[in-house]
C-alpha cells in the first residue's frame, strides 16, 4: 500500500490494528510524498491501495493505471502555524508572519501544502516572504524545532507529531484551507479483497478513532 508521508504514523498504527484484527495478513507500506507515491504506482510499483494527501495526486492515479472504484475521502486536515515550544516570538496569528524580522518557512507552491498556504495567505490578505520554500513539511518542522526558523505553516497533524518540541497557533476557519485525503483500491490490485477490507477498516469507527488521535478531522 502506498501512502502520503503525512500519514506515516497514523497508517502504521492502522496497519498494525488491521493485522491484529485479521491474523495471517500482512500490510506493507510505502510512505513518500503523494506525488512520488503515485508516480511509482503509475510506473509499475505493485500497490493495492493508495492513500493520498490531496485529490490532485489521486486524480493522477485515476487517470494513470486506474482505480477499482471511485476514491473516497477518509480524513481531512487543516493548516496551523508551527512555532518553537513556548512561542518565544509571541506569534498570535497569520498577520504576525508578515513581520520582516521573523524567519518564516513555508512549503513550495509545487507541493500541495505550499499551494494551500498561499491560498490561506491570500484569503488573510497577508503578504509573507518566506526565507525558504521547503519541499516537504518535515523540512519546516526540522527548521522550526531546531530554532533556525521562527515560524512555519504546516498541517495540524504535524504540530501534534512534533509533540513537546513545538506548538501550534490556530488559523481561523474562515481563512483556513481544508485538505482532503482520498483513498482508493488500484485497478487490478493483486490482493483486491484484502485491499477492500483495509479500506473499509480505515473508514470504520475504529479506524477513524485512530486517525483522530493523530489530529485528522472526520471526512
Amino acid at each position: 500500500m502506498g501512502a502520503a508521508a503525512s500519514l506515516t504514523a497514523s497508517f502504521t498504527e492502522l496497519g498494525d490494528a488491521f493485522m491484529a484484527a485479521n491474523p495471517g495478513t500482512t500490510v506493507a507500506f510505502d510512505f513518500a510524498s503523494s506525488s512520488d507515491v503515485v508516480k511509482g504506482i503509475n510506473e509499475g510499483a505493485p500497490t493495492d491501495v493508495f492513500a493520498s494527501a490531496d485529490t490532485k495526486n489521486m486524480d493522477k492515479l485515476v487517470g494513470g493505471i486506474g482505480v477499482a472504484a471511485d476514491p473516497v475521502t477518509f480524513a481531512t486536515n487543516e493548516l496551523q502555524i508551527i512555532v518553537a515550544k513556548g512561542n518565544p516570538k509571541g506569534i498570535t496569528g497569520v498577520a504576525d508572519l508578515a513581520n520582516p524580522d521573523l524567519l518564516v518557512v513555508a512549503c513550495s507552491p509545487d507541493v500541495p501544502i505550499g499551494n494551500y498556504t498561499q491560498q490561506m495567505f491570500d484569503a488573510a490578505g497577508v503578504k509573507v516572504t518566506p526565507v525558504s520554500l521547503e519541499e516537504n513539511v518535515k523540512g519546516i518542522v526540522t527548521k522550526v524545532t531546531l530554532g533556525e526558523a521562527d515560524a512555519g505553516v504546516v498541517y495540524r497533524t504535524d504540530v501534534l507529531a512534533a509533540a513537546d518540541r513545538a506548538e501550534g497557533v490556530d488559523i481561523p476557519d474562515d481563512i483556513n484551507v481544508t485538505a482532503i485525503y482520498p483513498i482508493a483500491v488500484t485497478k487490478d490490485a493483486a490482493n483486491a479483497d484484502l485491499a477492500n477490507a483495509f479500506l473499509v477498516y480505515v473508514l470504520s469507527a475504529d479506524g477513524q478513532s485512530i486517525l483522530q488521535q493523530y489530529g485528522f478531522g472526520a471526512p
Binding site: 513550495s108 526565507v131 521547503e134 519541499e135 530554532g147
Partner: protein, 266 residues
C-alpha cells in the same frame, strides 16, 4: 598489431565485465534522454528561474571547489607527509562527510553553525553573521560534502610522490614553500585536477545538505538540484530538461578536462 599491443590486450572476461559496467552507467541516461520532452527544451530553459538557479549553481559550486583546493591541498599534504599521533582519526574525521547522509550533514551544520548552534550563536551575536538560508550557507554545505573527494585524491598522489625529489630540491637551496609550489605540486598535478573536478562535480550535484542547511529560496539558495527536485513535484517534464542541462554541463567538463590536464596519452 605489434607484440606490445597484444601483450596489453586485456582478458576477454575483463572486457565483458567492463561492458556490463558501461551499460550499467549508460542505460539510466538512455532512459532519461528517452523521456526528455525535446519540444519543450527552449521553453523551459528560457524561464528566468532556471537561469537564476543555473547561475547560482555554477557560482557556488566553483567557489566550493576553490575553497576545497585552498584548504584541501594543505590538509592532504599534512595527512600524507606529517607524522603525528591520531593521524588516522583526523583523516577519518575529515572524510566522514562523504559517508554521512547529506541531510544529516545539513542538520550537523545547524548544530554547529546555525544561529542556535555551538559556534553559530557567537557568529550571530558578535558579528551578526547568520549562515542558514544564505548563499554562503549553500557554499558551506557544498564544501562540507565535496572537499573530502579532493583530499583523498591528492593525499593518495602525495604518498606516491617520491619525497627524495623534494629533499634534493631542498639541498639545492629551494625554500620549503618554493619546493612545495614548484616541485611537489607539479608532480601531483593530475591528482590535483582530478580532485578539484571531483569536488566541483560533487558540489554541483549537492542536494541534501543544501536544502537542510540553506533552505530553498529562488535566487539566494535555490541551486539546480533543488530546482529539479521541486519541479519533479509539479512539472516532471521540466525537471527532465533541467537534469539534461546539469548532465550536459558536468559531462562536458569531465570529458573535456581529462584529456587536456590529466596526462592522458591521447
Amino acid at each position: 598489431m605489434n607484440r606490445r599491443d597484444r601483450a596489453q590486450r586485456p582478458p576477454a572476461a575483463a572486457v565483458a565485465l567492463a561492458l556490463v559496467a558501461i551499460a550499467f552507467f549508460a542505460l539510466p541516461f538512455a532512459g532519461l534522454l528517452w523521456r526528455v520532452p525535446w519540444s519543450r527544451l527552449w521553453e523551459v530553459l528560457s524561464t528566468s528561474e532556471v537561469r537564476t538557479a543555473l547561475r547560482l549553481s555554477l557560482v557556488t559550486s566553483l567557489i566550493a571547489a576553490v575553497l576545497s583546493l585552498l584548504f584541501g591541498v594543505p590538509l592532504a599534504w599534512v595527512l600524507a607527509r606529517v607524522h603525528f599521533p591520531g593521524r588516522r582519526f583526523v583523516r577519518a574525521l575529515c572524510t566522514l562527510s562523504m559517508v554521512l547522509p547529506p541531510v544529516v550533514g545539513g542538520v550537523a551544520l545547524f548544530f554547529s553553525f546555525g544561529r542556535r548552534g555551538l559556534f553559530g550563536r557567537w557568529l550571530d551575536s558578535w558579528f551578526g553573521i547568520t549562515l542558514p538560508f544564505s548563499t554562503a550557507g549553500v557554499v558551506m554545505a557544498q564544501t562540507f560534502v565535496a572537499m573530502p573527494f579532493l583530499v583523498l585524491t591528492v593525499e593518495a598522489a602525495l604518498r606516491q610522490h617520491d619525497g627524495r625529489v623534494d629533499d634534493a630540491a631542498r639541498t639545492l637551496g629551494g625554500s620549503r614553500w618554493y619546493v612545495f609550489r614548484r616541485v611537489t605540486l607539479p608532480s601531483v598535478r593530475p591528482a590535483l585536477v582530478a580532485g578539484a573536478v571531483l569536488a566541483w562535480a560533487r558540489a554541483l550535484g549537492e542536494f541534501g545538505a543544501t536544502i537542510t542547511f540553506a533552505g530553498n529560496s529562488p535566487g539566494r539558495t535555490q541551486t539546480m538540484p533543488l530546482a529539479i527536485y521541486l519541479a519533479l513535484e509539479s512539472d516532471p517534464e521540466a525537471a527532465l530538461v533541467l537534469s539534461l542541462v546539469m548532465i550536459a554541463v558536468s559531462f562536458g567538463v569531465l570529458a573535456g578536462l581529462r584529456e587536456r590536464w590529466m596526462g592522458d596519452p591521447r
